[in-house]
Every structure is written in structure tokens, then in C-alpha cells.
């Protein structure tokens, strides 16, 4: 009744090409953004900001990165955590070694470093596809973590190979409180997510999708596979790199290469699969699902009280978590984003389905 586009006419190309062509969508997005920018920092506790919101935002960014590569360009990758590591260590070294380096510039440079590394490891994609490519990106995962541990220069000769992020300061303002760190993370993620949304609607995004759907046909209609695939690797790694820099600077503060292991890569891949392959919105939903569900289960197991021994409840958590993943994938193989889509379509017809 309320959610329908009847009466909204598009009189120009500009109107026709908006990200959100339906007025209700625009209002909803504005409200959501206002909620996260204005309401959350005032009312959320430190725990919610530091323990939940910031990691969800950072992993959403990493999931967007992987979604660009896997969901839009169709190149399976298992190296996302390693590209995050490149971003984290690059940002650290830029701030450390270049005096007066502004932190946001360091983040961008860190993303560019990750993009460069990503392009190198994307080269095999020109010859191999699918699972074989996944194995090639697995090499990136192991090689990068190994290199960061092996060469002490990356961690400024720290005896344990661990780096500690420097203070985050922009224009003399120190981002130290959880609220400030949250807003900084949110701002970076919003800008990059909007950019990604536009990118996938542009000619670049369309050529990615053409390559994904059938690369021979895409080549025939004039899309250069090398250019397109490497571009996808570069953009994807850029996003992962910035996510890694945020992970070090606004979330953990101290990171070790071992923290960016294959396990994390898999988690990001699961976020993409659960959230929805080929959807920016799905990246957010997937990240929230994978990050929040174990915490929610842990808290709710505690609420059951002491009659469940801790040893059993810890194992139960994993069982329920795995079970829910299977459940969601059976109910909707296209991920949470698809459920969202179906909900929206139903809402358009409501309350008169036919």
C-alpha cells in the first residue's frame, strides 16, 4: 500500500539512473544512515560500538571487496584475509616511515598496495578458472602471511612480528573514543560502499558481469578479459586492503600476520555466500550474520544459566551456528539479500496480492 512506485514518473535519464529509483527506498536509506550516524553514537554503549558495530562494518567492507571479485566478476578467491593483511601492514609502514602522513591518505595508499599485490596474484586468472583459481589465490594467502612473518622490515623489526597501530589523528583531532572510531569507520565504509554500488552499475561492473556469465561471449562483444579481470582483482583487493587497515587502526590496535589466516578468508567467503553473491546489500547482511550470530548464541547460552555446563554450551554454539547456516542456505540458496528482495517484492503487492 505504502511501498509502490505508482505515480513516480521519471522525466530524465538522470532520474532513471539513480541508485534508488523508488522514493520510499531513498527515504528508507536516508533514515537508516541518519540512524547509524546520529542515533547510534549517542545511545549505543561502548560494548556495542567496539565489540559489535565496528567489526561488523569492517567485515562488511571486506565482504564487499570479495563480492566484487567473486559475485560480480565470477573469480573465486581464498586470499581476502591476506589482502587485508597487506592493507594493515602497508598503512602501518606508511604512517611509520613517512613523517606527517595523513591517516586517510595512508589508508588509500594501503588499499593501493593491496590492489597491486592483488593484481599480481590475479594474473593466473587469465588462464585458469573456478576451483583451480581458488587454489592459486590460496597461494596468495599463504605467501603473504609467510612474507610478513619472514621479513622483519614489515613489522619494524618487532621481535614477535606484531605491529601496533599508531594513533589515528585527522586534522589535529585524535580518534580515541569508541564513538569517534565508530564514526570514522562508518564514514569510510559508507563512502566505499556507495562507490562500489555505483561501480557495479557502471560499464566496468557490466563488463565484470559479462565475464562472469560467459567469458568467451564477453570477449566476442569486445570486452578485454585481461583488463577486466585484473581490474576486478585490483578493486577487490583495494577494498580488502582498506578493511585490513581499519581492522588494525580502529578495531584491534595490534595485529599479527597469523591473525589474517586462511580461517579469516573462509569467514569472509561465508559472509559473501550467506549474504548473497553479487549484492552489495548482501555483504552487509552476511557480515552481520557471521559476526553477530556466534556472539548472540554465546550470550543466549549464558542466559540459560548454569544448568548447561560451559564445555557443552561452547560446543552447542558451534553446532547451532552450523545448523543455521545450512538452514538458511536450504531455504534461500541465493543468500539473505535474496530474502530481502523477495520481501520487497511482496511488499509492493501488499495488501492485494492479486
Amino acid at each position: 500500500m505504502f511501498y509502490r512506485e505508482a505515480g513516480q514518473f521519471k522525466a530524465s535519464y538522470r532520474q532513471d539512473q539513480q541508485i534508488f529509483p523508488i522514493r520510499q527506498d531513498r527515504i528508507a536509506i536516508a533514515l537508516i544512515l541518519a540512524f547509524f550516524y546520529l542515533v547510534v553514537p549517542y545511545f549505543a554503549s561502548q560494548y556495542w560500538l567496539q565489540g559489535i558495530m565496528i567489526p561488523v562494518l569492517i567485515f562488511s567492507l571486506a565482504a564487499i571487496g570479495l563480492n566484487i571479485l567473486t559475485g560480480y566478476a565470477g573469480q573465486l578467491s581464498l586470499g581476502s584475509a591476506a589482502f587485508m593483511a597487506v592493507g594493515a601492514f602497508a598503512a602501518y609502514n606508511f604512517v611509520l616511515r613517512v613523517p606527517g602522513m595523513p591517516i586517510l591518505v595512508a589508508f588509500i595508499l594501503a588499499g593501493l598496495c593491496a590492489a597491486a599485490v592483488g593484481m599480481v596474484f590475479g594474473l593466473p586468472s587469465l588462464r585458469i578458472k573456478g576451483f583451480y583459481l581458488a587454489v592459486a589465490t590460496l597461494a596468495a594467502q599463504f605467501f603473504i602471511v609467510w612474507a610478513l612473518t619472514k621479513f622483519p622490515w614489515f613489522s619494524n623489526n618487532s621481535s614477535s612480528g606484531v605491529i601496533t597501530a599508531q594513533k589515528v589523528e585527522i586534522l589535529g583531532y585524535a580518534f580515541e573514543s569508541p564513538e569517534a572510531k565508530y564514526l570514522l569507520t562508518l564514514a569510510v565504509v559508507t563512502v566505499l560502499a556507495l562507490l562500489a554500488k555505483n561501480l557495479v552499475r557502471s560499464s566496468i561492473g557490466r563488463s565484470w558481469m559479462a565475464i562472469r556469465d560467459m567469458d568467451v561471449a564477453a570477449e566476442v562483444i569486445g570486452i578485454r578479459p585481461m583488463h577486466t579481470k585484473l581490474m576486478a582483482f585490483a578493486v577487490s583487493s583495494f577494498y580488502c586492503g582498506v578493511a585490513g587497515a581499519l581492522y588494525a587502526y580502529t578495531y584491534l590496535g595490534t595485529v599479527e600476520p597469523e591473525g589474517f589466516n586462511l580461517d579469516l578468508s573462509f569467514r569472509i567467503l561465508f559472509m559473501v555466500i550467506i549474504g548473497g553473491v553479487g549484492s552489495i546489500m548482501g555483504s552487509f547482511l552476511g557480515a552481520a550474520f557471521i559476526v553477530l550470530l556466534p556472539i548472540f548464541l554465546n550470550v543466549s547460552m549464558h542466559a540459560l544459566g548454569s544448568w548447561v555446563p560451559q564445555g557443552i554450551s561452547s560446543n552447542l554454539e558451534l553446532i547451532v551456528f552450523g545448523g543455521l547456516i545450512i538452514f538458511f542456505l536450504i531455504v534461500e540458496p541465493h543468500g539473505l539479500a535474496r530474502l530481502w528482495q523477495i520481501g520487497k517484492e511482496k511488499l509492493r503487492l501488499w495488501p492485494f496480492p492479486h
Binding site: 561502548q46 621481535s159 614477535s160 597469523e258 554465546n298 560451559q310
Partner: protein, 440 residues
């Protein structure tokens, strides 16, 4: 007038009593435990022992000066991000917030090092974590207690020297350091290199990729090198694999010295006969033949209140290490209460003072029923390590046998390196080290 005054005093006394009765409620400790995943064996044992000791203090003594201990667990799965979430979740728990944080993971320790001073909650990393945090002037809230990795490593070299018949005999010897390729594993490389220069032996570092269930090439390297000793710096599944691989190439296990994360029953039993003769370092011993463990059996286990699902693990290396964690936590709370009010819940900031002024000497160990169970400990503002003593134990095929007394580590060498490394950190982070002469 007089009556009014005494009534007033009476009221004030009653109010004070009432207030103290409210405050004497409990002392909250948030435990970031891990009971699933590859390191669950360590997690269940150590957190089980710690919780059993807390339970013992509650059951036997009625708490610390009447303050009952309460605790809450938060599953971390040995994952840094989950550990940070647990830190944030538990820091406001109980009447006075979280008292102390035992990360029991080097990675999580690193992740919370900067949160500790900000939230004023001390971090105890007992026998792991960031070694240079032993310099309490730069790291006021971090306590790598008892013996850090560098100290332990010098004790290992001393032990090897003893076996060889004197430190001068180390000259020309060859040692291979097989380490878990992670922040934890790499930590001792600089100190080994420094000692190699000092005593004139050669050392070769051989990394094993996580998790370490494939070590053929590493031990092939050992066979080529023909070292006199092998130092094993493993964790989890890497340890039994290493022992089996050593047996395969015929390297004598009596010449392998492990770190304490390679020296539990969980590390040797899976290796079977291959583990016999293997030596490891330790800051606590195994066995149930100590009054403190006897008390736990009497007051906790017999009442069915133990945290352990498998009661046969009581008295194992990990379990007893958990008890050591418990003893230190409880004594630090007691110390803090002496200064800030007996029978009151203390805050994390007061707990920090308690740990920093902790002095567990031989007489106190005896009173606690932990003589020979753990080393004596004396903390100070500058020294956040406190002990530096190590015992060595050997696996006889069935159990760990202690083969040395407490061996002192080379504090002169270690302390210098710690201060140098901490100063570098302080410079990088713009921290002005505390002046310890001004601390009370």
C-alpha cells in the same frame, strides 16, 4: 543533645555497616575461555583449574575476607576478534567491573594490551604474551607473570649447559630451534641469537607452519644438521607430531627440550612411545600430591562442584597451571584489599596495585599448600615478571617427572633486552615511562 549525637553516631555506624554489607557482595572475574577448537585441551584444563581454585576459596574460606568470587565465561575460540568482544562485554560486569583479564592466548594478549590502560583493567599473561611488557614502567597494566619466554629460554640454555657439564662446554655445540611460525614462536629468536654469541654455540631456526601436523621436511633438516640439542617451541598438535617425527629419524628425545606449552600430558600421550625421555620446561609441576590440590579434591571435587568434565585430568600439567593462575589472582585481590579495604570489592585499578605489590615468598607458598608447586614471586613497579624460575621435567612414558630444582634464568641478559625493546615501543607510541621511585 547528647542523645541526638549518639543516635547520629549509631545511624552513621548502621549506614556504614549497611554500605559495607552491600559492597561485600562479590568480586567479579571475567574469563575469556576457549573450550572448542584446536587448543581446547589447554583451555579446558587451565580454565578448569582456575575455576576450581576460585570455587575452593569460596567453599573453604568463604571468599576473600568475606568477598565471594564470581566469574563468567566468554567463549573466544582462541580467536583475537572474539577475545576483544569478550573484553568489551565483560569489562563492566559485577559491582566493580572486571577485576583482571587472563587472555590465555598470545594473540588476544596483543589485541588487548592497549585497551588495558584505557579501561583500567590489568592483563595477566602468565607464562606467555608480550615479553617486553615485563618492563612495568612502560606497560603498567600488563603482567607477563612468573617467567617470560626470554627468561625461560635462558634457563633452557643453562639446563643444557648443566647437562653438558658447564656453560663453557657449550662452545662449538649446535642447537636447532624448531618453532611454531607465529608471533608466539618467533618471540625467542633474538634471545637465542644473543646467547649463541655469548657462549659460542651455533643456533639454527627452523619454522613449522601452523598448525604443525606436517613436519617431515623440518626433521629432515635436523637430520642433516646433526645438532646436539633441539629446542622445541610448539603449541597444540605440533608437539606430538614433532616427537613422532624425531622418533622416525632416530633423534634422541632426551636431547629435545620443550617450552612449557609443549610440556603437558596432552602433548606426550598422543605421541605414545615416541615421547619417552622427552624433556620440557615448566613453571608448575604436575601431580596431585600437594596440599592445595588435596584441598580442591576435598572441598570442590568431593562436593561435585568441579568444573572438570574429565576428573582424571585433575593434577595434570594444564590443570595445575590453572590452579597457579587462581592462586596468583586470589592473592593479588587479597593484597589489594589490604590497601583499599578488607571485605570490599576492588576495582581493576586497585587490582593493578595488588598485582604490582604481590610478594608470594616461601612461607606464604607453604601456607597456601603450594610449596614446590609453583615458584616464589615478588613483583615491583619496574619488574612485572616477578620470578624467572624454571623447573625441568621429563616424560617417563606414563607421567612427567621433575628432574631439576628451580633453575634461575639469566636476568642480566634478559632484562637488558626487555628494557631496550620496551623503550623502543614507548618511543613508537609516545609513552613516557613511569618513574618507579614515585610509586607507592
Amino acid at each position: 543533645m547528647k542523645m541526638k549525637k549518639s543516635a547520629l553516631i549509631g545511624f552513621a555506624v548502621a549506614a556504614a555497616l549497611g554500605a559495607s554489607a552491600v559492597q561485600a557482595a562479590d568480586q567479579y572475574i571475567g574469563l575469556p575461555s576457549y573450550r572448542v577448537g584446536p587448543y581446547a585441551a589447554g583451555g579446558t584444563g587451565i580454565f578448569g583449574g582456575m575455576i576450581d581454585y576460585f570455587q575452593l576459596v569460596n567453599e573453604r574460606d568463604g571468599g576473600i575476607n568475606g568477598v565471594k568470587l564470581t566469574w563468567e565465561e566468554c567463549e573466544t575460540e582462541y580467536n583475537n576478534a572474539r577475545g576483544v568482544e569478550c573484553w568489551e562485554r565483560m569489562k563492566k560486569g559485577g559491582p566493580t567491573g572486571n577485576t583482571v583479564f587472563h587472555p590465555l592466548s598470545t594473540g588476544i594478549t596483543y589485541s588487548v594490551i592497549e585497551k588495558a590502560p584505557a579501561d583500567k583493567i590489568p592483563v595477566i599473561s602468565l607464562g606467555y604474551g608480550r615479553t617486553d611488557a615485563s618492563d612495568g614502567r612502560v606497560f603498567p597494566y600488563v603482567f607477563p607473570l612468573l617467567t617470560n619466554y626470554w627468561s625461560q629460554n635462558t634457563a633452557k640454555i643453562k639446563f643444557i649447559g648443566m647437562k653438558e657439564g658447564g656453560m663453557d662446554k657449550l662452545k662449538g655445540k649446535k642447537i636447532v630451534n624448531i618453532y611454531h611460525d607465529s608471533a608466539y614462536g618467533k618471540e625467542t629468536i633474538p634471545v637465542l641469537d644473543a646467547q649463541a654469541k655469548m657462549y659460542g654455540f651455533t643456533v639454527k631456526h627452523v619454522p613449522v607452519a601452523h598448525p604443525g601436523n606436517e613436519q617431515q621436511s623440518q626433521w629432515l633438516q635436523v637430520r642433516q644438521e646433526k645438532p646436539d640439542w633441539v629446542i622445541l617451541r610448539g603449541w597444540g598438535v605440533m608437539n606430538p607430531t614433532a616427537l613422532k617425527a624425531a622418533a622416525k629419524i632416530g633423534f634422541p628425545r632426551e636431547k629435545i627440550v620443550g617450552v612449557w606449552w609443549s610440556g603437558a600430558e596432552e602433548d606426550t600421550i598422543p605421541a605414545g612411545a615416541a615421547a619417552k625421555g622427552y624433556i620440557s620446561a615448566g613453571f608448575n609441576v604436575s601431580g596431585t600430591n600437594y596440599p592445595v590440590i588435596k584441598d580442591i579434591q576435598k572441598y570442590v571435587v568431593a562436593k561435585g562442584k568441579t568444573n572438570m568434565e574429565d576428573k582424571s585430568r585433575i593434577g595434570s600439567v594444564y590443570y595445575n597451571r590453572g590452579v597457579v593462575h587462581g592462586i596468583i589472582t586470589v592473592e593479588a585481590i587479597r593484597k589489594a584489599q589490604e590497601k583499599y579495604g578488607k571485605g570490599k570489592s576492588i576495582t581493576g585499578e586497585q587490582m593493578r596495585w595488588g598485582i604490582e605489590n604481590l610478594n608470594i615468598d616461601a612461607a606464604m607458598l607453604k601456607k597456601l599448600g603450594a610449596e614446590g608447586f609453583m615458584p616464589a614471586l615478588k613483583m615491583s613497579c619496574a619488574n612485572h615478571e616477578g620470578s624467572g624460575l624454571v623447573k625441568f621435567q621429563q616424560w617417563d612414558g606414563k607421567q612427567w617427572k621433575v628432574i631439576t630444582d628451580w633453575i634461575e634464568s639469566d636476568q642480566k641478559l634478559v632484562r637488558g633486552m626487555i628494557e631496550e625493546s620496551a623503550a623502543k615501543y614507548a618511543k613508537e607510541k609516545n609513552i613516557t615511562p613511569r618513574d618507579c621511585s614515585k610509586e607507592s
